[in-house]
Symmetry: C2
Subunit: 376 residues, 2 copies
């Protein structure tokens, strides 16, 4: 254990890196996938089960938690870790992205954003200073700068305006965060798909100085090709000795491509959300358990998988409980999906350490291509 936040790269393979983020609450093996615990729960999972999948760190959502049960209440109850019974590191987002996608009656000014709650219509405000305060009240280990993230496609002037504002907010976030040993503050690069804006954003963030850097403004509608286009150069604009975090990504092939391009951390609701709609992620691709082809199938969802869904049940059973809208369907498929994602991250870490990432990626895509001709 350490009383400081630190990052160490242990191996590289092309642009890809594997390493360790150390925090007072434990280590995070990178590249890392962070399950999302929106409202102080990774949906349909107990925290001990999330840990069993191999997750080292969770993500919590400032927007959701500030509205319910409120950051002040969580602080009074001992902080988010204790509240949700997760003793490992937690990264919290700033609320900036979700307030723009979920809240109503939004009003954006230089100061911040005022908005009405999607739950009860109550009025609230987020600014760099308030976001820092909320994330401190939650007890977050890795705090994200408050930013404005425009949806893509957007015209370049709009992206520049939002990027410039986000950089001023990054400075205010840094000032408001202050000096909190053991806690990290990450800056968020913006700039859309414009290399010059990305470069200017990175330069500004590095000038301010952060413990880690996110590549923001992606996975917002631009498509994988455009995202990889940015990732071909954006990570290289950021300091090599700090973790690089790609927010809100993604599908397994997005993750593989991002890791190849030098990303160290990712998060996404996809594996848990898919699990609640009867979708499973496997080495042979995505499987829809709702499909009638599974109703008599005695095979496990994925041969060799050690998650409880695959060890204990047939595809026929999973089909039955999905069709019957049973809670156990969400529980088992979420568990499988999170397990699959963590196994993928371990495989990526191992491949990087062995200098064999290219071969792994070839095999990853070949398995998925072969999956198409399986009797799925």
């Amino acid at each position: 254990m350490t009383d400081k936040f630190s990052f160490q790269v242990n191996a590289t393979d092309g642009a890809a890196r594997s390493g360790i983020i150390s925090t007072p609450r434990g280590q995070v093996r990178t590249p890392a996938f962070m399950p999302v615990g929106t409202a102080a729960t990774v949906k349909a999972m107990l925290p001990g089960s999330v840990r069993e999948t191999g997750a080292d760190i969770l993500l919590g959502n400032t927007y959701h938690l500030m509205l319910r049960p409120t950051a002040e209440r969580i602080a009074a109850l001992g902080g988010l870790h204790r509240f949700m019974n997760w003793d490992g590191p937690i990264l919290t987002d700033s609320g900036g992205f979700q307030v723009m996608s979920l809240a109503s009656l939004r009003k954006l000014t230089e100061e911040g954003v005022t908005f009405a709650s999607h739950i009860d219509g109550s009025k609230h405000m987020l600014s760099p200073e308030r976001s820092m305060e909320i994330q401190r009240l939650l007890g977050s280990d890795i705090v994200m700068c408050f930013d404005e993230c425009p949806a893509l496609p957007a015209d370049e002037a709009e992206v520049k305006r939002a990027t410039d504002l986000s950089m001023r907010w990054a400075q205010r976030s840094r000032d408001a965060f202050g000096d909190r040993p053991g806690h990290a503050l990450f800056g968020i690069m913006q700039g859309g798909v414009t290399p010059e804006l990305r470069a200017a954003s990175a330069e500004k963030l590095v000038e301010i100085g952060f413990d880690g850097y996110a590549v923001g403004g992606l996975a917002v509608g631009e498509g994988q090709e455009a995202m990889f286009g940015v990732l071909d150069y954006a990570p290289g604009l950021l300091p090599a000795d700090k973790p690089r975090y790609l927010m809100g990504v993604g599908k397994p092939d997005d993750i593989v491509g991002a890791v190849q391009r030098g990303i160290d951390m990712m998060d996404c609701v996809l594996p848990s959300r898919s699990g609640r709609t009867g979708q499973a992620w496997t080495a042979r691709g995505q499987v829809n358990l709702r499909n009638a082809r599974h109703k008599d199938d005695p095979r496990p969802l994925e041969e060799g998988c050690t998650c409880p869904a695959c060890r204990g049940y047939s595809r026929a059973y999973l089909h039955h409980v999905v069709k019957s809208d049973e809670i156990i369907a969400s529980m088992l498929l979420t568990w499988h999906n999170l397990h699959y994602y963590q196994v993928l991250m371990q495989d990526l870490r191992d491949a990087i350490a062995a200098g064999a990432l290219d071969a792994f990626v070839v095999q990853f895509h070949a398995q998925r291509a072969a999956g198409d001709i399986e009797p799925l």
Copy 2:
């Protein structure tokens, strides 16, 4: 392990008994509470978690399983135990009660019941012979006779008609069940709240001869006083060396009163259903986690309880996830409730073995009475 079904009474205290039911799939400590696994799942629980609460045996519902995924499909997949990943004993009901309460277009004849599925309107038939066949296909360890159970209050002539029919169906169930070593067939006493009808029903069932006997036709609207009125004499009409099963009961105080009157087995959806609506059962009574009084309460739901909900979380957290309609609320509260029920059963078994049941019952009611003045 044994290859036969057997029952042994190890201790008595007044009319109450504690003992062991032995089956090839494991032992059941009595008095026993059986969680209900309606559609091949105890809702919101993994089977290993149900086992951890202390449950020795589950109940499966013939009506639900015959409609979806069908008994034939479960048989082809290796039986219900394998299908739902529960290797302990399973008792299945006959479908008789649920077809009358859930299906539409019912037509009752001497032969059996034709009906339309509540899921898709498809036409089906249940009879003593078909019920025995379905329960055999499922691989049930304890099979229940097919009966007709009228809701109470009902006039005595109607109760007598249903009881007489049920006794003829009991004989047909016995004949259709045949000789299946290691599997048990239980008869079901009917007779409403009329002692003469109860006595005649018991006499007929004992004449046919069963491995155990249910007290049927209760918990169908008659209230606790009337139920206890029947239980004051009905168990004594049944053989002392066979298990006595009270179907569909109940609340914790129903269970305590039934055990005092000589009941060995019970089942009810209450602890799991309550758990999905934010209700918890505790030694101090029923707690509604939806109530705003819990929102800042750092205390566990129940001091000293070793279930995951009480070990890991505050009342404030449980309130938050109930209010937020999170799946973890159903998972944690169902787990707590099933745990509470199984601790109650163990306490009852211990009290009977110690000849101290009366003292236990006094304490049980005193704790609940004191609960009313707690800041709940």
